[in-house]
């Protein structure tokens, strides 16, 4: 049966409906409709991390639709142009170049992963087009230039959160790390986790590596089993994390598994089943969090998409909102002015918390720890920086 992604991959044009709506609202007739402001989005709608891109896209669409319903920005409607990077290395650079040079977008939203954001960042920087990443947590992402922003916490913090959780809440002392050599996020997280565990009096008994796309982890896991550890930290994405969990349980490793935001996908549970039950992961947001901002956002998200929001859709929503807010304050779509307005963002109330950018264009935010319980992600605790 041919299965097609649920989106038109080339373009997701929202402008048309809004244009009709603005006429209905009584804009002076006879005058040409205002030219929409074009915002580019690139995401992994297909491929290995397809659930990432599809979830993120839902958050972005919701934000743009809400903004358009409230009259758009600068008196013009917003048009979202979405490109699929197929979860492939190299593809992000191509599609972002296209968005900037051919589609003439005024700003770019994306990507969720650090690796693909790092590919696109130099291109956006060179063209002086602001880029707001919803979820690229690798430290070096915003170091690519002063046009690169993100609305998520950085890996240094995420590594610390998981290390603290392991030491203080789970009370483990000997930990092993299994990280991916092909993901900048994984390498960075492994480093920060190692430093924090060692500082806190724990030991990293063994550190093993794999490459993205690997399917056989039995060799590394057998070595980890022989090292005898109390917990295993796997900073990676869900496809590999699911196979690692499954093979770990098959080899008789029973210690708790610790993951990161890259684990948060329904596919993790679909692929690994009972093997990820009881695993812990750090992430940006939980729909089960009872904070009022979260509840309201989750309700609107449910009404639009018929499912609960998660960290990825909430971050994407926030990234789009921060950008729209900056557009309004800048009063223009001009790249440098828009950049300055973005950099001046202060105490912006998003779904994932209050966002103010520091000098490195990173927000300071809290994290949540989730666990997998009865086949779904359950909220464990909030962690503040």
């Amino acid at each position: 049966m041919p299965i097609r992604p649920p989106f038109s991959l080339r373009r997701f044009v929202l402008g048309t409906g809004v244009l009709a709506a603005s006429f209905a609202l009584g804009l002076p007739s006879g005058r040409a409709a205002p030219e929409p402001i074009r915002i580019g989005e690139f995401a992994s709608l297909t491929g290995k991390e397809a659930t990432f891109g599809q979830t993120v896209h839902k958050g972005t669409v919701l934000a743009i639709e809400e903004a358009n319903a409230a009259g758009g920005a600068l008196g013009r409607p917003l048009e979202l142009l979405t490109e699929d990077d197929q979860s492939k290395p190299g593809e992000s650079a191509t599609v972002v170049k296209k968005l900037i040079s051919r589609d003439k977008v005024v700003a770019i939203l994306g990507e969720l992963t650090s690796g693909r954001t790092l590919e696109a960042a130099p291109i956006a920087q060179a063209a002086k087009i602001p880029l707001v990443s919803p979820g690229a947590t690798a430290v070096e992402v915003t170091a690519k230039g002063n046009y690169i922003f993100r609305v998520c916490f950085i890996d240094e913090f995420q590594g610390t959160v998981m290390a603290q959780f392991a030491l203080d809440t789970l009370k483990v002392r000997r930990v092993a790390i299994l990280s991916s050599v092909s993901s900048p996020q994984s390498v960075g997280l492994a480093k920060f986790f190692r430093e924090r565990v060692t500082q806190g009096g724990g030991t990293i008994a063994l550190e093993q590596k794999y490459g993205d796309g690997d399917k056989d982890f039995r060799a590394q896991l057998t070595a980890i089993k022989a090292a005898g550890v109390d917990a295993l930290f796997v900073p990676g994405y869900y496809t590999e994390a699911a196979l690692i969990s499954k093979q770990a349980r098959e080899l008789g490793l029973t210690m708790p598994l610790l993951g990161i935001d890259g684990w948060e996908s329904s596919q993790l549970i679909a692929l690994a089943g009972a093997a990820v039950e009881g695993a812990y992961l750090s992430t940006h947001y939980s729909a089960e969090n009872r904070a009022p901002g979260v509840l309201a956002f989750n309700e609107r998200f449910r009404a639009r998409w018929g499912e609960d929001s998660n960290a990825l859709s909430a971050l994407a929503y926030d990234a789009a909102l921060v950008l729209i807010d900056a557009l309004k304050r800048a009063g223009t779509t001009d790249g440098p002015k828009l950049r300055d307005a973005l950099a001046a963002t202060k105490d912006f109330a998003g779904a994932t918390g209050r966002i103010s950018f520091d000098a490195q264009r990173n927000p300071t935010k809290s994290a949540v720890v989730l666990t997998v319980k009865n086949g779904r992600f359950a909220f464990v605790q909030d962690v503040h920086p």
Binding site: K215, A219, T222
Partner: protein, 296 residues
């Protein structure tokens, strides 16, 4: 010690799958003297056939599992024979290079039509065989690993029987030795070549199912890496040589696993391919291959 045995077992079960795929490369090479690059994608189609058959056949039963395995093998055999009929037969007698380029084309066609028809998103392969883990001393043996090793061993014995004990096998060896002379003594080369493709593709289909059983996330590009490794295994063992392909596969799987479990895991592919280069430097025809003199 138990860590060593565990790694050996992991390596053998990975190597057994490489061996199964390598057999297909080696058989086609033996008969036609070209590398069928589409072979690794037939392997992928095998896994997807299993995925779709799994929707109709009850999971977690030995009978159902065997049915899925046979179904995938049959489907892949038909696919392999169709590829041969449509893409390679019209080029019979053309330069080997032309066929080789066509093979790469067929491979890309399968990979990207796979993305259109199956979607690029990885799928979860169903648990077609009931699975359990046994502990033997400090050794953990998963039933899936046992299934892989046993099925591979049985298929290899069966293959050996077909090639050396049956009429069609004798014809295959005759075509391999000298296609013109075989035709002179009444062998229908087209039928033999078609059969070889069918047999090799059936093994790839079985490999696809066994691979997906152990690594249950399947996508249209899943054949690329195992295919490349199996090709290396076939060359390592001596291409055109059936026991050589099996030996090469097991060797490569074991080496890869041991490197992966050490602190040099980042270099696993580099080391596997370096071994190939070293062996070919000293034994250009591969481990079990016979050096042949090119007749002019």
């Amino acid at each position: 010690m138990s860590e060593f045995l565990q790694q050996l077992l992991n390596g053998l079960s990975l190597g057994a799958i490489y061996a199964l795929i390598a057999l297909g490369y080696t058989m086609v090479y033996g008969v036609l003297r070209f590398i069928n690059f589409a072979h690794s994608d037939v392997f992928m189609v095998g896994a997807f056939l299993g995925y779709y058959l799994g929707k109709f056949i009850p999971e977690n039963t030995v009978g159902g599992g065997l049915l899925i395995l046979l179904g995938a093998m049959l489907g892949c055999a038909v696919l392999g024979m169709t590829i041969e009929r449509l893409a390679y037969r019209p080029l019979r007698g053309a330069a080997t290079l032309n066929v080789l380029i066509t093979a790469i084309g067929v491979s890309l066609l399968l990979e990207y039509s796979g993305q259109v028809f199956f979607g690029a998103t990885p799928r979860t392969f169903p648990a077609v065989f009931p699975s359990a883990n046994f502990t033997l001393g400090g050794l953990v043996i998963s039933s899936n690993q046992v299934v892989v090793i046993v099925v591979t061993a049985l298929l290899m014995v069966g293959l050996q029987f077909i090639v050396y004990r049956t009429k069609i096998g004798t014809a295959m060896r005759a075509v391999s030795l000298n296609p013109k002379a075989a035709q002179l003594v009444g062998v229908n080369n087209d039928i033999v070549i078609s059969f070889t493709f069918g047999l090799g593709s059936a093994l790839a289909g079985a490999g696809g199912i066994l691979y997906a059983l152990n690594y249950p996330s399947i996508d249209p590009l899943m054949g690329v890496m195992p295919g490349l490794k199996a090709f290396v295994a076939a060359v390592l063992g001596g291409i055109g040589n059936i026991p050589g392909a099996a030996l090469g596969g097991l060797l490569l799987g074991t080496v890869e696993t041991f490197v992966n479990g050490s602190q040099w895991s980042t270099y696993k592919d580099a080391i596997a391919f370096a071994i190939l280069i070293i062996i070919l430097l000293f034994r250009p025809a591969g481990l079990l291959g016979k050096a042949s003199v090119e007749k002019v």
